[in-house]
């Protein structure tokens, strides 16, 4: 029982009151902060070129060493303009996907809810592909008006529409049926993918190549400009999530009981849905379909610190960011000098994990 030994080790480190895992959770969050720091440092220092992030940061802090100016300029370009945006994007998207997964699981009261599995990402993709393919023709007025925000906004609208339909279909009188949720998610994803297929059919060769790589999911092509367009959206969505934590905790007892406890349930649900759609939409818009982060990260953390969302949400953000940087490092190096789409890496690692959850929890999940 791997999870019990993990929990046992963590429990031995910090237990204050019996049944109270908050001290352990705080410790884990602290360790995850350190882990993220290390991941960021490693991502900045590793890459195809031998540019030294240490040197660049040293220069930045203490002034450059004379005589080395040309080399420094090249290293600075690589570290600041190529690696840094990519690392930041990885952090933002890893955090967004993991937190979105945790919030959706709280909302649907089920550990299997994940934006990628239940069609939210597919809906976002449809919105994004529509802008990519039709941006110069049918949707030209929209793209002209919104500029670089058109893509993330379209992805947001697509994700939001999918989630709202899903909520309507899967939730009856405050009870969400898991089977209905997953099946409705599959149907919605299929529909979104079919519509996406029509758009791809209409695309020209150049768009097609863009679309293929984008759909597989990748952090390649990260620029400061992309960070500028999705950073605020993801940042805002992530900043709103901690305010949902207490309500999501109460929601674990059911919608009616959460209401009895004084939680404004409808407002909570819609805030969560809008927040998740924004975070997932923005992520999909820049990096395509990166799957399984939203299900693997919160699940691992629940084994470690329990399901209290006040700790689960920040811990998910930190672990999601670290894991995505790790996956990106694998994607960049495993077939170097070429690069594997990161979505393939997360799927290869995440899909077996998902199956393992299903096997382990067959009784509880109760499909």
């Amino acid at each position: 029982m791997a999870d019990q030994s993990i929990a046992g080790v963590a429990g031995g480190m910090a237990t204050a009151v019996e049944g109270d895992r908050s001290a352990r959770a705080r410790l884990v969050i602290l360790l995850l902060c350190l882990a993220l720091g290390v991941s960021i440092f490693l991502s900045l220092t590793s890459g195809a070129s031998d540019a030294s992030a240490v040197g660049v940061i040293g220069d930045w802090l203490f002034g450059s060493v004379p005589g080395d100016a040309a080399l420094n300029a090249r290293d600075q370009l690589i570290v600041w303009d190529i690696r840094m945006p990519r690392v930041l994007l990885g952090v933002l998207i890893g955090a967004a996907l993991a937190v979105s997964g945790a919030v959706m699981q709280g909302l649907f009261r089920n550990p299997l809810a994940d934006p990628g599995l239940i069609g939210v990402s597919a809906g976002s993709s449809l919105g994004a592909v529509a802008v990519i393919v039709l941006g110069a023709t049918v949707l030209a007025p929209v793209t002209a008006l919104l500029g670089t925000l058109a893509l993330p906004l379209a992805a947001f609208v697509g994700g939001l529409a999918t989630t709202l339909v899903l909520c309507q279909v899967a939730t009856r009188r405050g009870q969400t049926s898991v089977a209905t949720m997953l099946l409705a998610g599959i149907a919605l994803a299929a529909l979104a993918m079919a519509l996406t297929g029509i758009l791809i059919f209409m695309a020209d060769d150049r768009q097609l190549r863009d679309l293929t790589f984008w759909q597989l999911g990748s952090l390649a092509g990260a620029t400061w400009q992309k960070i500028g367009s999705v950073g605020p959206v993801i940042g805002l969505a992530l900043a709103a999530m901690p305010f949902l934590a207490r309500g999501l905790n109460a929601l674990a007892l059911g919608e009616a009981t959460a209401g009895h406890l004084g939680i404004p349930v409808q407002r909570l649900k819609y805030t969560a849905i809008v927040g998740v759609s924004a975070a997932v939409g923005a992520s999909v818009a820049v990096s395509g379909g990166i799957g399984f982060v939203g299900i693997v990260v919160p699940h691992l953390l629940r084994l470690l610190i329990g399901p209290d969302n006040r700790y689960l949400l920040p811990a998910s953000a930190l672990l999601g960011a670290s894991l995505l940087l790790l996956a990106d490092a694998v994607a960049r190096t495993i077939v170097a000098p070429a690069e594997l789409p990161i979505g393939i890496v997360t799927a290869i690692a995440g899909a077996p994990f998902f199956l393992w959850i299903l096997l382990r929890k067959r009784g509880i999940v109760d499909l």
Partner: protein, 262 residues
């Protein structure tokens, strides 16, 4: 005081509760009894704001329909018949959820140990670190009661009485814990709060209730003190069962009444 006047509830167009008048006074345990499907739970759900209704319900003089969730949560706590939990919470974490929205009414410093005190009251001392899902049905029911008690720990807050709404609080409990839970309810009332409890055990009801409301086919069939309400005629009419009140079994059949508890 909780006052319901002419309350009706329809679910999917079907009338479940029709024209019920109901009162629950502070200092009293008000029991709701009646056969299965007579609308007891539906009526309690209207009282707790979970279902929409026609008629009027006032909680301490305030119209329920204009009350926000958080305001209602400071004045009453609700124990549902059964609660399923979707994630592996520990017992302590579940009980602590009672403190999420309302006001326990204890001093700020005392809140921290309230889950332990509530667990001790429902005879679950030492269960704090166990996982909720691992407990038996009766133990889970008592954990939920401990959560509910945390929410309205002080029966009177800011000079206003507070209420416990209990839907079959003892249905899955052994006799010892039935008595413990009913004593908690009576104690809550004696200290100035009010209790509304749906019960099935008529002996337990007669022992603990100050006032009984009998529901039958969605309507109120009778209301009053136990000795006035529990009659042979009423029981035959409502429960469709020819039973006699206060008749001892003949012969050698043993019987155990909660009233005999020392």
């Amino acid at each position: 005081m909780i006052e319901a006047r002419d309350v009706s509830v329809a679910i999917a167009g079907k009338p479940i509760v029709a024209g019920v008048d109901f009162e629950a006074r502070p200092g009293e345990v008000a029991a709701i009894v009646g056969p299965n499907g007579s609308g007891k739970t539906t009526f309690l759900k209207a009282l707790s704001g979970e279902l929409s209704y026609t008629g009027s319900i006032a909680l301490n003089g305030r119209d329920m329909s204009v009350m926000k969730a958080v305001e209602a949560a400071t004045q009453r706590a609700v124990l549902p018949q059964a609660t399923t939990l979707s994630f592996p919470f520990t017992v302590r974490e579940v009980v602590k959820l009672g403190l999420v929205g309302g006001r326990s009414g204890v001093l700020p410093g005392e809140d921290a140990r309230l889950p332990e005190r509530a667990l001790a009251r429902v005879d679950l001392e030492g269960f704090a670190g166990r996982f909720y899902q691992e407990l038996s049905g009766g133990e889970q029911q008592r954990v939920q009661l401990a959560r509910v008690l945390c929410q309205v720990w002080a029966p009177v807050l800011d000079g206003k009485p507070r209420y416990l709404f209990l839907d079959e609080p003892v249905s899955s409990l052994d006799i010892k814990h039935q008595l413990i839970i009913m004593n908690i309810a009576r104690d809550f009332a004696r200290r100035g709060g009010g209790v509304i409890a749906i019960l099935h055990d008529l002996n337990l009801t007669a022992m603990y209730a100050d006032r009984i409301h009998v529901m039958h086919r969605g309507r109120l069939a009778a209301a009053g003190a136990p000795q006035d309400v529990l009659s042979d005629e009423l029981i035959e009419k409502v429960f469709d069962c020819r039973l006699k009140v206060g008749v001892l079994p003949t012969g050698n059949v043993p019987f155990v009444l909660p009233q005999s508890a020392a």
